[in-house]
């Protein structure tokens, strides 16, 4: 028997363990690379194709300052900002939702479900309908609403964990829906239409100043996220195990605050685009063999928003849906599928 045979017959534990440890890491990288390519493809399609097509050389010429009458305006003031805003809000929703779902250990614990997005909506609708505001004040109201509802849900739920928090969040969301309904009954037709459009979520009004503000927020939040993300691997083991490993529930709360802020700034920029925060994490996880990665969730979120915006814009000739209509139409069946699957696959703890 040669040495090689021996090694194959009984793999050295060290090597076996090293291989086992690296395999999921390699897979996650592969998935991230694949998703990046898909995002690039969707982004290119969104910017270059449609009712006004660009060639790649033209795209770069315009991007670097060349003036092509008509084309420059459509690209720089409509198509490109729309796609860029889609990437930013999609990634923010995806990462925010995945942090919620992972930390609270419940796929239903996404900001769309537990009232964070509805908190933003209620505050924004109030600002539009009752205060007659538009633009920046509405966005500020949305951020304040999202944060206020999160704090409320967290305080009521206490520290007893995910399941209770989801139930309370769903309850708060229902209450907020009725607040929004009430505000609509008091609104005049013009304001109501504006508020409705805001609530559906849309990137069609994208402009560079909005993108700059959103990008500024993300530039602050993302480094903090990178720093905190390492403890996500520990906090997701549950409060007791996490504390045993030296990670306190304060870290969990910090992660949730970050997720709320990511969601809030994205909602402020584009409205609560339905189900993106909820969908991105589980899709990324399914692609990644069951593991959630924030990079994967962010990429999926960006792909979903940019892709859905493309579909919304060109699916039916002459009709421009807001992107939220498309994500909602796909999100609701996905939710039902997820719940049905959870019922049959749940294991005894």
């Amino acid at each position: 028997m040669t040495v090689v045979d021996l090694v194959e017959a009984a793999p050295v534990p060290v090597e076996q363990v090293r291989q086992a440890r690296r395999r999921p890491i390699r897979r996650a990288r592969l998935v991230a690379a694949g998703l990046s390519l898909v995002l690039l493809g969707v982004f290119a399609a969104r910017v270059l194709l449609g009712d006004f097509t660009f060639t790649v050389p033209d795209f770069f010429r315009i991007l670097f300052g060349a003036e092509i009458p008509g084309a420059s305006y459509i690209l720089m003031e409509s198509k490109l900002p729309r796609a860029v805003l889609g990437v930013l809000v999609g990634a923010a929703f995806g990462v925010g939702g995945a942090i919620f779902q992972t930390t609270l250990r419940n796929p239903l614990a996404a900001p769309d479900i537990i009232g964070v997005s509805l908190g933003a909506s209620a505050a924004a609708v109030f600002a539009i309908v009752s205060l007659g505001q538009a633009g920046t004040p509405v966005s500020v109201a949305a951020i304040v609403g999202a944060v206020a509802v999160s704090v409320l849900v967290r305080l009521v739920a206490g520290t007893t964990g995910g399941y209770r928090l989801v139930l309370i969040g769903v309850g708060v969301a229902a209450a907020l829906s009725s607040v929004i309904q009430y505000l609509f009954t008091r609104a005049d037709v013009y304001d109501a239409q504006l508020a409705l459009r805001w609530m559906t979520g849309s990137v069609s009004a994208a402009d560079w100043p909005t993108i700059r503000i959103l990008a500024g927020f993300l530039l602050v939040l993302v480094p903090i996220l990178v720093w905190l993300a390492r403890s996500l691997r520990i906090t997701e083991l549950g409060d007791d195990v996490a504390l045993g490993l030296g990670v306190t529930t304060r870290r969990t709360d910090a992660l949730l605050v970050l997720a709320v802020l990511l969601t809030a700034v994205a909602v402020a920029a584009a409205g609560p685009i339905a189900f993106v925060a909820f969908l991105a994490g589980p899709i990324a996880r399914a692609l990644n063999g069951g593991r959630t990665t924030l990079v994967g969730a962010g990429l999926v979120g960006a792909i979903v928003v940019v892709g859905a915006d493309y579909v919304a814009d060109y699916l039916l000739a002459d009709i421009n849906f807001p992107v939220g209509v498309v994500t909602g139409a796909f999100g609701a069946p996905f939710l039902i599928w997820l719940l049905a699957r959870g019922r049959t696959e749940r294991r005894a703890a």
Binding site: T102, I234, L237, L243, G244, R285, G290
Partner: protein, 287 residues
Amino acid sequence: MTVQPTISALEEEKVMDRPIEPGRLVADGVSLGYGDRPVVTDLTVRVPDHRVTVVVGPNACGKSTLLRGMARLLRPMSGAVLLDGKAVHQLSTKQVARTLGLLPQNPVAPEGVTVVDLVGRGRHPHQGAFRRWSADDEAAVVEALELTDTVDLADRLVDELSGGQRQRVWIAMALAQGTDLLLLDEPTTYLDVAHQVEMLDLLTDLNHTRGTTIVMVLHDLNLSARYADHLVAMKDGEVVAEGAPGSVVTEETVRAVFGLGNRVITDPVSHTPLVVPVGRHHGKEAR
């Protein structure tokens, strides 16, 4: 036929050759509870170093509460849990995590986590913000997997494992943490008797080979008597008896703690006390 030594003689011998030192982990006059309702009041328990300490008692006697207090999961209302003479709640939690490991009751792994990934997370207290995965980490994980006989499960998903395998993997995670003290809250719950014995053998190996101080809450009195060096019997938030199993597990103590008629005989295998419960239908003469 050999004459079996009596329990007391055996225990004396044990105590003689391994003197009990003042412990690194002490619950010093702690009151613990949930909300403002105390479950244990002014309790002092010294955990002997390098020994296996088992806390037993009826349901709701405060044994898990005491363990949670010692593991700093609960902040004492008064008194303090001391680790190396300092209050655990005043030490940095990461620093404590390098000395004191913890396995709570029924931990649940997140979906899609492999065994080696979970065990590797036990290294978290040893990793800084910038220092990531090191050769030390790798070696600790391999050793933990080898000790728990889970090397061949390394790339399996934790949710796919059987109850016994899963519990071994969680223990491996706690071992990878490389702490001198290890607290376990009912590590044998939901395991069948064979896996219970396997688990307790594993912990005893750990205690013998590494000298790890082990504190655990167990339900099975007879296994507790067999595996404990130091037994703490609690009732209504108070310590009723404490010491070597031979001196703690007596018919009077068991009756006082559990309110159960019983006979205590010598375990033919381990020569530790064996409690035989007496119910309403059997053994009328013993009641």
